[in-house]
C-alpha cells in the first residue's frame, strides 16, 4: 500500500506582536500510508491543530510540501482545495459544528451539496448516509435536530458527515475533547472501526492518551517537532 499522505519539511510561522515571528512547526516530515490510523498528541499550544489544518488544507504551510495521493496540495489554488476538502478529506471537530437549523439527515448530506462529487460508485450518497447512520446507531434519529441530541450523538453525526463523500483521509481534531469518558471511549472505538470498515486513513489530534494508544501509530508534537511515540512511553 503506497503513501496516502506525505509531509516534507513542513513549517509554519506566525507574525509575532513585536514584529518578529513565532515558529509553530519546524520542518516536519511525515509519511502515512493509506488505511493507517495515526494519533498526534502534544501539550496545548504545541501546534497539533495547526498541523491538522495544514494537512486538511484549511491552512497553508510557510514552507515544505503536503503530498496527498501524490499531489502537493499546498500549491493548489483555493477552488481546487475546496474540491479536495469536499472529496478527499473528512473533518471531525472538537465542537461538532452541526448546522442547528438542519436535521441529522440533512447535516449528514450537507457536503453533497457542494456539487463536486466524483464518480459516486455503486452506492448513492443517501444510501451511504442511511447505512452509516445505521452503523453509528442513529438510524432512528435522522429527523432530530442537533439540539435534541447528546454530545456523543452529535459527534457521531459529525463523523458520518465527514465520511459521506467517501474521503480517503479522515481528520479528527480533539474529537472526544468535549465528551464524557464513556462517550469518548465509544467514539474512539467507532473511529477505529470505521477506519477499518471504510478503508479510510485516520489522523486524530488528541490529548487523550488512551485513544492515542489505540491508534496504529502515535506521534508527539513538541516545540514544533514531531517525534514518534507517545510521551513517557
Amino acid at each position: 500500500m503506497g503513501a496516502c499522505l506525505k509531509l516534507t519539511r513542513v513549517s509554519r510561522q506566525y507574525a509575532g506582536p513585536a514584529g518578529g515571528s513565532l515558529s509553530v512547526l519546524r520542518e516536519i516530515d511525515l509519511e502515512i500510508a493509506a488505511g493507517d490510523s495515526v494519533a498526534i498528541v502534544g501539550p496545548s499550544g504545541s501546534g497539533k491543530s495547526t498541523l491538522l489544518q495544514i494537512i486538511g488544507t484549511l491552512d497553508r504551510p510557510s514552507g515544505g510540501q503536503v503530498w496527498l495521493d501524490g499531489r502537493d496540495v499546498a500549491a493548489l489554488p483555493e477552488p481546487e482545495l475546496a474540491r479536495v476538502r469536499n472529496q478527499e478529506l473528512g473533518f471531525v471537530f472538537q465542537a461538532h459544528c452541526l448546522l442547528p437549523q438542519c436535521t441529522v439527515w440533512e447535516n449528514v448530506l450537507v457536503p453533497t451539496l457542494a456539487g463536486q462529487a466524483r464518480d459516486a460508485g455503486p452506492e448513492t450518497a443517501t444510501a451511504r448516509a442511511e447505512r452509516l447512520l445505521k452503523r453509528v446507531g442513529l438510524a432512528n434519529r435522522r429527523q432530530h435536530r442537533p439540539g435534541q441530541l447528546s454530545g456523543g450523538e452529535r459527534q457521531r453525526v459529525a463523523v458520518v458527515r465527514a465520511l459521506i463523500n467517501r474521503p480517503g483521509l479522515l481528520l479528527a481534531d480533539e474529537p472526544t475533547g468535549s465528551l464524557d469518558h464513556a462517550s469518548a471511549v465509544a467514539l474512539g472505538q467507532l473511529l477505529l472501526d470505521l477506519n477499518r470498515e471504510e478503508a479510510v486513513t485516520l489522523i486524530v489530534v488528541t490529548h487523550a492518551q488512551d485513544l492515542a494508544a489505540r491508534m496504529g501509530r502515535a506521534f508527539t508534537l513538541t516545540e514544533g517537532a514531531l517525534v514518534r511515540g507517545l510521551p513517557g512511553l
Partner: protein
C-alpha cells in the same frame, strides 16, 4: 437535501435574527413604494384635474378679443353646403358648443366681498348643458340660467361665500372693436355691470372648473346665457370660444384636428372674421360699388392680400384702397376746423393719380371754412393711432391742390368707417370718443355733421395717409370694387365672398382649432415627478433602513461564523457559501419587498396627507387622491428585493473569503494600520479643502455663497469621519497604558469593533448634516428695494381682470383713476401686457407647454433682477436683439427671458430652447429663451419685448399686470388707493416679497419635507445605534462578567457602557452639527428668519435622547441578566 431546503432551513432557524433584517428591507421598500405611489397619485390627480377643467373638450378654438358668429359651431356641424368644400362634421362624430369668454369680477352686492379675476362665460343654452353634463343634475328639464341668473363654480362660491339665491354684481370687460389702447377707442365704457341672482353652484363634474390653460387650481368661473352676456357687451350673436368634444360611443373613427379644421374652413364666413361686404348703391356721379370693410375698422394685410387681383378676367377689377381717419384739426392760418374725416385713397375718382404726397384736396365746405385756395398750406393734426391713452398728436403740412364740390364721388359719407362712438351719433354732442374733445366744435361743424355726417372733408394720397395712420391693426379701412358692365353688385359681392373664403385661411383670424386635451394630458404626464422628488426626500430614510439592515445582517453573520467555517471546511467554495447566504437574503428580500410594498401604500397615504396639510404649498392646491397601480407595487417589491440583495451582498463582501479556520475559531480580525494612516491623510486633505473653500466663498456675496459653504461643510464632514476612523483604529491597537480609568476602558471599547463604531458615528453624522445642511438653501424674500433682488426692487405687483390702458405714470392717467398726486410722488409703474398661457411656476405642477407671455419695454427693467444666464449678459436688452433665424421657419424666434427655476422645472427648458406659439392671426412663431434671472417674481411667465408682443398680438389691450416701485413707508397707503381706484378693473395687489415668498414656500416646503423624512431616518439611525449597543453588550457579557467577578459594581458597568456609546452618539451628532453649521453659515450671518431653528433643535434633541434611551435600555437589558452564567458558558 437540496440547496433550497438548506436555504429555507437557514431562514426559519435564524428567523429571530432575520427579523431586524426583514424590518430594514420592509422600511426601505415602503419608502420606495410610498414615493412611487405618490408619483402615480400626483400624476393621476393632475390628469384628473386636467380632464376636470376641460370636461369633454378635445379641441378648442379661442379667439380672445376677436369674435366670430356664434352660429359657426352649428354651421360646422350642419349639413354640407353645396360647393363649400369637404363635408361638415357629423354631429354623431363631434359635439360642438360656442361660448363667450371674458374677464370680469364678481361682487356680492350685499356684502363687501369681491372676486377680482373671474372667468365669465356666456354659454349656449342649447348645447352647453349637454356638453358640460348639466342635464343629469338639472332634473325634469328644469329651466336653467334664466336671464337674470348666474351659475358660479365652487371656488368662486367659496371666495364670495355666496350661495344660490344671493344677488351678485358681475362686472365684465366690454371688448372694443379695436384694442382698448387705440386712440379712437372709447375709454369710459370699458366694462358693463350685470345684477344677477346666483342660480346654482356648479361642481367639478359639471365643468365648473372649466379652464383652457393649466395653472393653479381654483379658477373662479361664472356662467350666464350667451345671449345675455353677448348683448350686454355689445357682441350680439357673437362668441370667442368654440369647443369640440368627441363622443366615446361613436362607431366611426374620430375626426382629428385636421379634419375639423377643414370643416371649419368650409363653414367659416367673412363675418366670422368681422369682415363686412356691402353694396354701395349708385349715388350722385358715383357708380354702384361693392366694399369690403371690417367692423374692426382696419383691414388686416391678410385680407388685402386675399383680395389682390390674381387671375385677370375673373370678374373683379383692381380694388380701390381707402383709408379714412379722423383729423383732430385742419388749420390754415388763423382759421381751423375740428374733428374732420380725411380720406387717403388709391381711387382715381377720389384722388387723381398725379396728386403728390404733400398735396391735399379739400371739399368745398372745408375750403370755405378755412378760406383756402389752391396753393395754400393746411396743417393736419391727428392722434397717432397706437398712442393709446397717452394720445400723441402729430401735425403734417399739406399744400392745397384743388377743391372739390359737395357733390360727386368725393361727397360720399360711406367713406367713413364705423368709428366706435362716432359713426352712429346723431349729433357731435353724442360723440363718445376715446379722447377728450380739446378743440371746440362750432355750430357750423354740428350742422355739417347733421347734413353730411362723416363725409370726408379732405383727401390725400394713400401713401401719405398710410404714413400717418398705418398701424398694427392694418393700413386700410376699405377696399372698393367697381361693378363691370354686364355684372351686378350682388354677383361681385358673391365673388368677393368666394374669394375671401378660398384665399383666406380662417386661422389668419385666430380661427384655429387646437387639441387642448392632448396638450393638457401631455402637461400632466410631463409634470413635476413627485416620485423622483420623494425618492430623493426619502433618500436618508432608505439609506438608514439599509444601513440598519446591513448592520443586522452582519450581526447575524457574525453569529454564524462557525457555520460558515464548517461549510468551507467540508468543501464548499466561498462563492457557494455566499450564494447560500444570498439565497436567504433573497427570501428575506422577497418577503420584505412584498410587505414593504403593502406598507408603502400606508406611507403614501401619510405623504399625501402631509401634502394636503403641512406641505400643501408643494402641491400647488391640487386635490390629491391616492392612485394605486399594480405595476408600481410590483416594481416597488422588485426594487425592494434588489436593494435588499445588494445590501446583503455588500455586507457579505469579504466575509465568506475569510479562512475557514478563522471562521471556525470565531476570529474576526481588526483593520490594518495602513488603513489608519490613509484615514489621517484623508482627514487632513478634506479639512484643508474645506478651509480653502470657505475662504473662497467668503469673497462672494448673496445666494452664490450657499452652495460653496454647503460644499465646505460636506468636506468638513468627510474630514471628521476620516479622523474618527483613524482615531478608532488607534484605539483598537494602542499599547497598554499605565493607568486604567473607566473612561479609558470605555474608549478602548469603542475601538474594539472599529467598523461598527464608525458606522454608528457616520450614520448619525451624515443624518445630522443631511437634515441641518439643506437649511442653507431655504429662501426668504425680505428685500423689496434692491433692483438686483428677486423682487426687482418693486414693492407691489398688481394684476387686473380688465386691462388698464391709461399710463399710470402720467398726471392724466393718475387723474383718470383719482390717484392723489401727493400719494403718487416718487411712485413708478411698469406696465406689462399679458398673453394668457400656462402658468409656468412651481405653483403649477403640470408642465407648462405654452407659458404665459408678458410684454414689457426692456428699458423699464434695465438693471433689475439678477441674471444667472448668460453670465456676461446684456441684461434686458437681450429682448431687443433679433434672435438667430430658425432654419426651418425662416422667421427669427422672439427672444424671451424668464425665471431660472421656472425655465428649468416648470417648463423643462434651458437657455437656447425654443417654444412654439401661434400669433393672433394663427401664424406660428417661436420664442427662444435667451436669458434667465435668479429666483424672482417673474416665475409663471416668459417676458418678451412689448413691441414684438404687439406685432404678434395687435388686439392686445393695455396692461393687465403692473409692477410698482414706491418710496419706503408708502406701500400700505398706495395699496389702499390702488385697490380703491382700480376696483372696477378687478385689481389684485400683492406685495412682491409676499409673491416671491409664495414661490419660495414651495422650495422651502420641499426642504422641510426632506428634513422631516430625513429626521425619521435619523431616528431610525439612532435606533440602529441602540441595536449596536445591545449587540456589543451581549457580545461582551463574559467580559462584563469578569469585571463583575473582580468586584466592579453593576452601576459602574452601566456607566462604562453608557459612556462608551454616548461617546459614539455625541461624536456623530457633534460632527454632523459642526459640518452643517458651516453649511448654513451664510444663512446665519444674514440673519435669515426662515432657518427652522426650533425644528432642527427639537429633531437633534430627539435623536440625542432617543439614542441615549436605546443605549440605556440596551445596557440595562444586558446587565440585568446573570452575567456569571456567561462566564460559565465561556
Amino acid at each position: 437535501m437540496t440547496w433550497r431546503s438548506l436555504i429555507w432551513r437557514g431562514v426559519r432557524f435564524h428567523a429571530r435574527a432575520h427579523l431586524g433584517v426583514l424590518l430594514g428591507a420592509v422600511i426601505a421598500t415602503a419608502a420606495l413604494a410610498g414615493a412611487l405611489i405618490l408619483g402615480d397619485s400626483v400624476r393621476a390627480s393632475l390628469r384628473a384635474a386636467a380632464l376636470a377643467r376641460l370636461g369633454a373638450t378635445q379641441f378648442a378654438l379661442s379667439t380672445g378679443d376677436r369674435f366670430f358668429e356664434s352660429r359657426l359651431g352649428s354651421r360646422m356641424a350642419g349639413p354640407r353646403t353645396p360647393g363649400a368644400g369637404p363635408a361638415a362634421v357629423h354631429p354623431e362624430n363631434a359635439h360642438l358648443t360656442t361660448a363667450l369668454r371674458l374677464p370680469g369680477l364678481v361682487t356680492v352686492s350685499e356684502a363687501d366681498r369681491t372676486a377680482p379675476r373671474v372667468q365669465v362665460l356666456g354659454v349656449d343654452p342649447q348645447t352647453w348643458p349637454e356638453f358640460a353634463k348639466w342635464q343629469a343634475s338639472l332634473a325634469n328639464g328644469a329651466p336653467w340660467l334664466a336671464g337674470n341668473e348666474v351659475f358660479i363654480n365652487e371656488p368662486l362660491a367659496a371666495q364670495l361665500q355666496a350661495k344660490p339665491g344671493d344677488q351678485v354684481l358681475v362686472r365684465v370687460r366690454k371688448p372694443g372693436l379695436l384694442a382698448d389702447d387705440a386712440a379712437i377707442t372709447p375709454k369710459d365704457e370699458h366694462s358693463v355691470v350685470l345684477r344677477l341672482r346666483v342660480g346654482r353652484v356648479l361642481s367639478e363634474g359639471e365643468l365648473g372648473v372649466f379652464n383652457l390653460h393649466s395653472g393653479r387650481p381654483g379658477q373662479p368661473n361664472a356662467f350666464l346665457p350667451l345671449n345675455v352676456l353677448a348683448d350686454a357687451v355689445g357682441q350680439t350673436n357673437r362668441a370667442n370660444l368654440l369647443l369640440v368634444a368627441i363622443p366615446n360611443d361613436r362607431e366611426t373613427s374620430p375626426p382629428d384636428v385636421t379634419t375639423l379644421q377643414r370643416a371649419l374652413e368650409s363653414a367659416w364666413r367673412p363675418e366670422d372674421a368681422s369682415l363686412v361686404i356691402r353694396i354701395l348703391p349708385a349715388a350722385d356721379s358715383r357708380p354702384a360699388q361693392v366694399e369690403v370693410a371690417s367692423s374692426r375698422i382696419f383691414l388686416e394685410s391678410a385680407v388685402v392680400e386675399a383680395l389682390a387681383p390674381r387671375t385677370p378676367g375673373a370678374g373683379l377689377e383692381k380694388p380701390r384702397p381707402v383709408l379714412t381717419y379722423l383729423a383732430n384739426l385742419l388749420q390754415l392760418g388763423e382759421r381751423s376746423v375740428p374733428y374732420s374725416m380725411v380720406t387717403a385713397a388709391g381711387a382715381p375718382e377720389l384722388v387723381p393719380a398725379d396728386l403728390r404726397d404733400e398735396e391735399i384736396i379739400l371739399n368745398d365746405w372745408l375750403a370755405r371754412e378755412l378760406q383756402a385756395r389752391p396753393g395754400g398750406v393746411v396743417a393736419l393734426s391727428y392722434y397717432v393711432v397706437e398712442s393709446g391713452a397717452s394720445l400723441v398728436e402729430r401735425t403734417n403740412l399739406f399744400r392745397v391742390r384743388s377743391i372739390v364740390p359737395m357733390t360727386g364721388p368725393c361727397a360720399d359719407r360711406t367713406l367713413m368707417p364705423e368709428f366706435p362712438g362716432i359713426a352712429r351719433a346723431e349729433s357731435t354732442h353724442d360723440w363718445d370718443t376715446g379722447f377728450p374733445l380739446r378743440y371746440p366744435i362750432r355750430p357750423a361743424d354740428e350742422t355739417y355733421w347733421k347734413q353730411y355726417r362723416g363725409t370726408p372733408k379732405a383727401f390725400v394720397t394713400l401713401r401719405a395717409g398710410q404714413q400717418m395712420w398705418g398701424n398694427r391693426f392694418g393700413s386700410l379701412t376699405a377696399l372698393r370694387f367697381s361693378v363691370p358692365p354686364g355684372s351686378s353688385p350682388e354677383a361681385i359681392a358673391g365673388t368677393l365672398r368666394g374669394q375671401l373664403q378660398a384665399n383666406l385661411p380662417p386661422a389668419a383670424f385666430g380661427l384655429r382649432l387646437v387639441d387642448v386635451r392632448s396638450q393638457a394630458l401631455q402637461a400632466a404626464a410631463q409634470a413635476q415627478d413627485f416620485a423622483q422628488l420623494f425618492l430623493a426626500f426619502s433618500f436618508f430614510l432608505v439609506i438608514s433602513a439599509l444601513l440598519l439592515m446591513a448592520l443586522l445582517f452582519r450581526f447575524a453573520l457574525e453569529q454564524r461564523t462557525g457555520e460558515v467555517g464548517l461549510l468551507l471546511a467540508v468543501g464548499f467554495k466561498s462563492s457557494q457559501v455566499a450564494r447560500l447566504l444570498l439565497g436567504e437574503g433573497l427570501v428575506l428580500g422577497l418577503i420584505g419587498g412584498l410587505l414593504g410594498s403593502a406598507l408603502g401604500v400606508a406611507y403614501a397615504r401619510l405623504l399625501l396627507l402631509g401634502l394636503r396639510t403641512i406641505w400643501r404649498e408643494a402641491a400647488g392646491g391640487l386635490h390629491l387622491g391616492i392612485h394605486l397601480q399594480p405595476i408600481t407595487l410590483l416594481a416597488s417589491a422588485v426594487a425592494g428585493l434588489v436593494i435588499a440583495l445588494v445590501t446583503i451582498a455588500l455586507s457579505l463582501r469579504g466575509f465568506t473569503r475569510r479562512p475557514a479556520r478563522e471562521l471556525l475559531a470565531g476570529d474576526l480580525s481588526s483593520p490594518s494600520p495602513g488603513a489608519s494612516r490613509l484615514a489621517w491623510w484623508v482627514a487632513a486633505g478634506a479639512g484643508m479643502a474645506a478651509v480653502a473653500l470657505m475662504g473662497s466663498a467668503s469673497a462672494r456675496t448673496g445666494p452664490a455663497q450657499a452652495p460653496t459653504f454647503f460644499g465646505a461643510g460636506a468636506l468638513l464632514l468627510i474630514s471628521g469621519l476620516a479622523s474618527a476612523s483613524a482615531w478608532l483604529s488607534r484605539m483598537s491597537s494602542q499599547a497598554a497604558c499605565d493607568r486604567l480609568s473607566l473612561r479609558r476602558l470605555a474608549v478602548r471599547g469603542c475601538g474594539r469593533r472599529h467598523g461598527r463604531s464608525l458606522a454608528a458615528i457616520a450614520l448619525l453624522a451624515c443624518g445630522t448634516f443631511m437634515i441641518v445642511g439643506p437649511s442653507a438653501f431655504r429662501l426668504d424674500a425680505t428685500d423689496d428695494t434692491a433692483p438686483g433682488s428677486g423682487t426687482g426692487g418693486f414693492r407691489l405687483l398688481g394684476e387686473t381682470a380688465m386691462p388698464v390702458v391709461q399710463d399710470l405714470n402720467t398726471p392724466a392717467g393718475r387723474d383718470f383713476f383719482n390717484l392723489e398726486s401727493n400719494l403718487m410722488h416718487g411712485v413708478a409703474f411698469v406696465p406689462l401686457r399679458v398673453r394668457e398661457g400656462d402658468e409656468a411656476s412651481c405653483l403649477n405642477l403640470s408642465r407648462a407647454q405654452r407659458p404665459r407671455l408678458l410684454g414689457v419695454d426692456p428699458a423699464q427693467f434695465a438693471g433689475r433682477f439678477t441674471f444667472v444666464a448668460p453670465k456676461a449678459s446684456a441684461g434686458w436688452e437681450l429682448l431687443r436683439a433679433p434672435s438667430e433665424t430658425n432654419s426651418t421657419s425662416q422667421v427669427a424666434p422672439l427672444p424671451a427671458i424668464g425665471d431660472a427655476n421656472a425655465i428649468q422645472w416648470a417648463m423643462g427648458k434651458k437657455i437656447g430652447d425654443l417654444i412654439d406659439y401661434a400669433d393672433e392671426q394663427g401664424r406660428p412663431f417661436q420664442v427662444r429663451i435667451v436669458g434667465a434671472v435668479a429666483n424672482s417674481i417673474l416665475q409663471g411667465s416668459l417676458v418678451i419685448d412689448e413691441a414684438a408682443f404687439l406685432q404678434r398680438f395687435p388686439s392686445s389691450s393695455g396692461a393687465r399686470m403692473f409692477l410698482v416701485s414706491a418710496p419706503a413707508g408708502r406701500t400700505a397707503g398706495l395699496s389702499t388707493a390702488l385697490l380703491r381706484s382700480l376696483e372696477d378693473h378687478g385689481v389684485e395687489l400683492t406685495s412682491t416679497t409676499a409673491r416671491l415668498n409664495e414661490f419660495n414656500a414651495v422650495q422651502n416646503t420641499y426642504l422641510a419635507t426632506f428634513q422631516v423624512l430625513g429626521g425619521l431616518g435619523l431616528l431610525l439611525g439612532s435606533a440602529g445605534l441602540g441595536i449596536v449597543v445591545l449587540r456589543n453588550v451581549f457580545e461582551r457579557r463574559a467580559e462584563l462578567a469578569v469585571l463583575t467577578a473582580v468586584g466592579l459594581p453593576r452601576r459602574t458597568l452601566s456607566a462604562l457602557v453608557l459612556i462608551e456609546h454616548a461617546f459614539l452618539l455625541l461624536a456623530g451628532l457633534g460632527l454632523g452639527t459642526v459640518a452643517a453649521g458651516v453649511a448654513v453659515l451664510p444663512a446665519l450671518m444674514q440673519g435669515a428668519t426662515s432657518l427652522p431653528v426650533a425644528f432642527l433643535s427639537v429633531t437633534l434633541m430627539a435623536v440625542l435622547l432617543n439614542g441615549l434611551l436605546w443605549t440605556w435600555l440596551a445596557a440595562r437589558a444586558a446587565l440585568r441578566s446573570p452575567l456569571l452564567a456567561a462566564l460559565r458558558n465561556e
